[in-house]
């Protein structure tokens, strides 16, 4: 290996050229072939039973995500201007290609089931806007007395009315999003304000805001990294070469993705984050070694210096990279494809970074010139500091161990507080427009988020059975009454209640489910004859053996959805007795399941990769205890990382869950370099000196590495997008803990266990 590497030193220009050409090819592929996958459904494992069922149910009941447009008039909505705007907006949305005509619901399109002296009538609330005060008042009365509409399409204070436009699958785009906002803006007048909310809008805003913010922040992050890298390496070409390793490995990873036609998922944007954090390490360690060698041997030639660097460093570089890559490959166990790809391509990037570190950096040094030897005093100071702190660390080892145990215990308690959140809305600032709009609509209506409960019976006509419908009705009322975050619910029962009432001369006593199944069947037939049967198929299926119960929630966060589901599940036994199963559908629910899946996969792979790391390190150092000791910083980093999230109330989501991978990547780097150096230095036979020398060499490099990455990611703390801020904080935190863990607790463990000294002592 060493020989091959030394051979490459002869052809530095060729190497540079070949790497540049391949990089250029990958780059052009990346430019021409990369596409961003924004459809969240594409992220979900299509064969998971929960998703399969939900997708089916979405088709049965035409469940789609809805854009909610609220029309507000502070006086009230019953005037020509406001009512006309509702008509105009309804018609405009109906004409959009992304929206089916029948999927727009508003006061203008809604059916009004009313009782007349001699029967029942299903009519529009208004077809042409009434002009006289009398007619306007009549409309107002109609709405007020229809509980299927009042509080659902018109707020109870009568100042807001909503239009709900369900959009087709896979049609959401930036243009469409902007079109909707423009339509809404243009319809606004002096008296009428228009608000746009709903899951597609939140998703859309996030899909735009996140990457846009990243685009702004990443150059600054890179600049800071370059600056700090220069400050630590004190050399322009070393800085450039280290940076090139990171850049090229990122380009190769994304280029290969493009070549294989794999789209870029939201989590794929974490690949550069990983490669920056991990990729700079090799460079720093190599240059750090080179610098120290030159300091010692100022007269050495280029070739001697580089040869020494390769001879001493190729092993740890290969070991760290292989172990890290294997750690990421363990993500292949995840059920979620974007995560699999994330693991696979990060692993590829890490391996590419390794090759570059071993070929590109030496070639670069051969082409350019060697770093200058540093002035003696500085070197002395450096050593002095490292030596002194080593003594201190070892002296106060019991304090360190004790402190570590306390921190770990506190963190484990914190882990108990960690909660998973699949909410999109929670990713925005509390005072951002989108959050305020959502709050405004939630204040006036049932809620902007939906959970669809699907009741599934094997028996045909099960949902014409009065006993079943009464239970459904009771469940709806109980859930809405017991949780204030559940605003209202809607299902077939609301139609039956309403029809039973109007067929009994609007007598409130009959606002319930009748006892006679035939009567229910006949009401439904009656509705089909006079109303729009399409509406029925949104709440019940063709053969009346599946029912869709809608619950409107005032928040899309996982706590709320879980609370609602827990309340609903209380009826599980009752429904089971009637032969009815409970299932769920809709994007809110799918998001919840999806986040659980990611987390489950992440924890699985974390455990798996830890085992792999321990075994690999054990094999590489031919001592299983080294494997165990080497994994200590990783474990500590992961535990404290999650613990801080618990205490700081940072919820786990697709991005934050992946950060534990950083713990592995970084932890391995630090541990391997440190242990390898420790092993080399242990030949002196002096335990303290070994520790001190290792600290001066590896400790120094690790510190540089940590400082560079922390400084870079701290920049994200100034991001306007909260998830990016969390990312910055957590990456920095992980780096910091890994660093501290390695130079304290791991050093102490190495020192205490007498590894590498046992045999010598016996001799």
């Amino acid at each position: 290996m060493e020989k091959i590497l030394k051979q490459t030193l002869k052809y530095p220009y060729w190497i540079l050229l070949v790497i540049l050409i391949i990089s250029a090819v990958f780059f052009s592929k990346m430019i021409e072939n990369s596409r961003m996958e924004t459809d969240l459904d594409e992220y979900m494992p299509q064969d998971h039973p929960a998703f399969v069922y939900s997708d089916q149910a979405e088709e049965w009941f035409n469940i789609k995500d809805g854009i909610i447009v609220a029309v507000e008039n502070k006086n009230n909505i019953y005037n020509e201007e406001t009512l006309n705007i509702i008509i105009e907006l309804t018609k405009t949305f109906q004409k959009l290609p992304q929206i089916e005509k029948a999927d727009v619901t508003s006061l203008y399109t809604a059916d009004n089931i009313i009782g007349t002296e001699d029967g029942m009538d299903v009519k529009a609330f208004y077809k042409k806007t009434p002009t006289s005060a009398e007619d306007l008042n009549e409309l107002r009365e109609k709405v007020k007395t229809n509980e299927m509409v009042f509080g659902r399409l018109v707020s109870e204070d009568e100042t807001v009315s909503v239009i709900i436009a369900a959009i087709n699958d896979n049609v959401f785009s930036q243009e469409f999003y902007e079109e909707i906002l423009t339509i809404a803006k243009q319809a606004e007048t002096e008296n009428v304000k228009i608000y746009v909310a709903g899951r597609p809008i939140v998703e859309g805003t996030m899909a735009l805001l996140g990457p846009a913010d990243m685009k702004k922040m990443v150059p600054i992050v890179l600049l800071v990294i370059i600056a700090v890298l220069y400050l630590t390496l004190r050399n322009v070409q070393s800085t450039i070469l280290t940076l090139l390793v990171v850049l090229f490995s990122t380009v190769w990873a994304f280029g290969l993705m493009a070549l294989l036609n794999i789209p870029i998922y939201a989590v794929s944007t974490m690949i550069p984050v990983m490669l920056i954090a991990i990729g700079v390490a090799d460079g720093i360690h190599l240059f750090s070694h080179l610098q120290l060698y030159i300091n010692k041997n100022p007269e050495a030639t280029k070739k001697e210096a580089v040869s020494d660097m390769l001879a001493k460093m190729w092993k740890p570089v290969v070991m760290t990279s292989v172990t890290t890559a294997v750690g990421f490959i363990s993500l292949l166990t995840s059920q979620v494809y974007p995560i699999k790809y994330f693991g696979l391509f990060t692993a590829f990037g890490v391996m590419v970074a390794m090759v570059f570190s071993l070929i590109l950096i030496p070639a670069g040094v051969m082409i350019f010139k060697l770093p200058k030897p540093k002035v003696k005093e500085e070197k002395g100071n450096d050593h002095h500091f490292a030596f002194k702190s080593t003594i201190k660390i070892l002296k106060y080892k019991s304090v360190t161990i004790f402190a570590t145990i306390i921190i770990v215990v506190v963190s484990i308690v914190g882990i108990g507080k960690v909660w998973i959140n699949s909410s999109f809305l929670d990713k925005f600032e509390r005072d951002s427009e989108i959050v305020l709009t959502d709050a405004f609509i939630n204040e006036h209506f049932g809620g902007t988020s939906t959970v669809n409960l699907i009741l599934d019976s094997k028996e045909k006509d099960a949902f014409k059975n009065p006993a079943v419908l009464k239970l459904v009705n009771k469940m709806q009322n109980d859930v809405v009454d017991s949780l204030h975050l559940v605003g209202n619910s809607f299902s077939l029962t609301d139609y039956i209640n309403r029809m039973n009432k109007v067929m009994h001369a609007d007598n409130e006593k009959f606002n319930n489910i009748p006892n006679d199944q035939n009567l229910i069947a006949q009401y439904l037939l009656l509705y089909e004859m006079s109303g729009d049967p399409e509406n029925l198929w949104k709440v019940v299926d063709y053969n009346y053996n599946k029912l869709n119960v809608n619950f409107q929630l005032k928040s899309d966060n996982s706590k709320t959805i879980n609370a609602a589901i827990a309340e609903i599940e209380k009826f599980q036994d009752d429904f089971k007795k009637l032969g009815i199963e409970m299932k769920y559908a809709g994007s809110g629910y799918k998001g919840l399941v999806f986040t659980d899946l990611i987390l489950e996969g992440q924890i699985m792979s974390l455990v798996l990769s830890l085992i792999i790391v321990i075994l690999l390190l054990g094999m590489m150092f031919k001592n299983i205890w080294i494997g165990v000791i080497g994994s200590v910083p990783i474990i500590i980093t992961a535990i404290i990382g999650f613990g801080v999230m618990g205490w700081a109330d940072i919820a786990l989501n697709t991005t934050t869950a992946l950060l534990s991978s950083i713990a592995i990547g970084i932890g391995i780097d630090y541990a391997v370099h440190f242990i390898e150096q420790y092993k080399i230095n242990s030949q002196s036979g002096d335990k303290l000196l070994t520790a001190q020398k290792t600290m001066a060499h590896s400790g120094r490099a690790i510190l540089f590495n940590a400082v560079v990455v922390i400084a870079g990611f701290m920049v994200l703390l100034f991001s306007v997008f909260p998830p990016n801020r969390e990312l910055g904080a957590l990456v920095s935190l992980n780096m910091f803990i890994s660093f501290i863990g390695t130079i304290t607790i791991m050093l102490i463990l190495l020192n205490k266990t007498n590894i590498y000294f046992k045999n010598k002592k016996e001799k």
Binding site: G119, D121, K464, I520, Q522, E528
Partner: protein, 260 residues
């Protein structure tokens, strides 16, 4: 002399041209009028089976016994549900008037409620009993409500047909146009395409079977498919009897409550 000749030829040409354009317009309307006026008897008794099929290929079958009678400018119809069992004996009666702009009178009797109720629906564009037929598709639309144009003549299912395009005079009508294939000299619409407000194909009506019953051409099997929703309705008439002399007082609220 020469000019006279030319004038004569021109005259002949123009009159021919004029005539052909004129006759074509006349023919379009005439064809539809012939369909509208085709004799179907004064009364009819039949068993109607309505099969509704949704996009997942699930079926719902409804069996209905129906009676109808022509009272000149008024057609009365009464229907009794035979199955499914839970709506058995539910009956429906409609009186449709020829008079333009006059809405149908409709009643429904729900046996479980033991009450006859009048129902009214907003317009003729409502769907009939959850089927793909609107009330208007089922009733005969008066020819003068549309502008008709004979597009071409062609063979369909082995029958020589006129192909007529009809565009409603009322711009707010639910269809922007319909195209009908009409069997020559039988005056039966064999197929009809319905286009929605955006001029996109909405539904296709196909006549699968027509029979000569007592000397009248009666359509006994039709299929209406909503192409946009992938939902279809097949209506089959069996035991059709024409001109049996149904009593005028068969079409009353009292009869509705009595069941079959």
């Amino acid at each position: 002399m020469k000019t006279l000749k030319i004038s004569l030829i021109l005259l002949a040409f123009f009159s021919l041209l004029n005539n052909s354009v004129f006759s074509q317009q006349l023919t379009g309307l005439k064809i539809i009028e012939n369909v509208y006026n085709r004799a179907v008897g004064d009364d009819m008794t039949a068993d109607l089976t309505m099969t509704l099929t949704n996009s997942s290929n699930e079926n719902r079958v409804r069996e209905i016994k129906q009676f109808s009678k022509d009272f000149g400018d008024l057609e009365k119809k009464i229907m009794f549900f035979v199955s499914p069992a839970d709506v058995k004996n539910t009956s429906f009666m409609s009186w449709s008037y020829d008079e333009a702009g006059k809405d149908d009178d409709q009643w429904i009797y729900l046996p479980a409620l033991k009450k006859t109720k009048r129902i009214s629906s907003d317009s003729k564009s409502d769907y009939f009993m959850g089927s793909d037929f609107t009330y208007d598709d089922l009733g005969d639309r008066q020819p003068d409500q549309d502008v008709h144009k004979l597009l071409r003549e062609e063979k369909l299912n082995g029958e020589d047909c006129y192909v007529v395009e009809s565009i409603p005079k009322d711009k707010d009508y639910m269809y922007s146009k319909t195209i009908t294939w009409i069997i020559k000299d039988k005056w039966i619409g064999l197929k009809k395409e319905f286009y929605d407000e955006d001029e996109e194909l909405l539904k296709i009506l196909k006549v699968n079977k027509y029979e000569d019953i007592n000397g009248f051409w009666i359509i006994t099997n039709t299929e209406m498919k909503n192409e946009q929703k992938d939902h279809k309705t097949i209506m089959i008439l069996k035991n059709v009897k024409i001109n049996t002399g149904i009593n005028d007082d068969k079409f009353t609220e009292r009869i509705m409550t009595r069941g079959i």
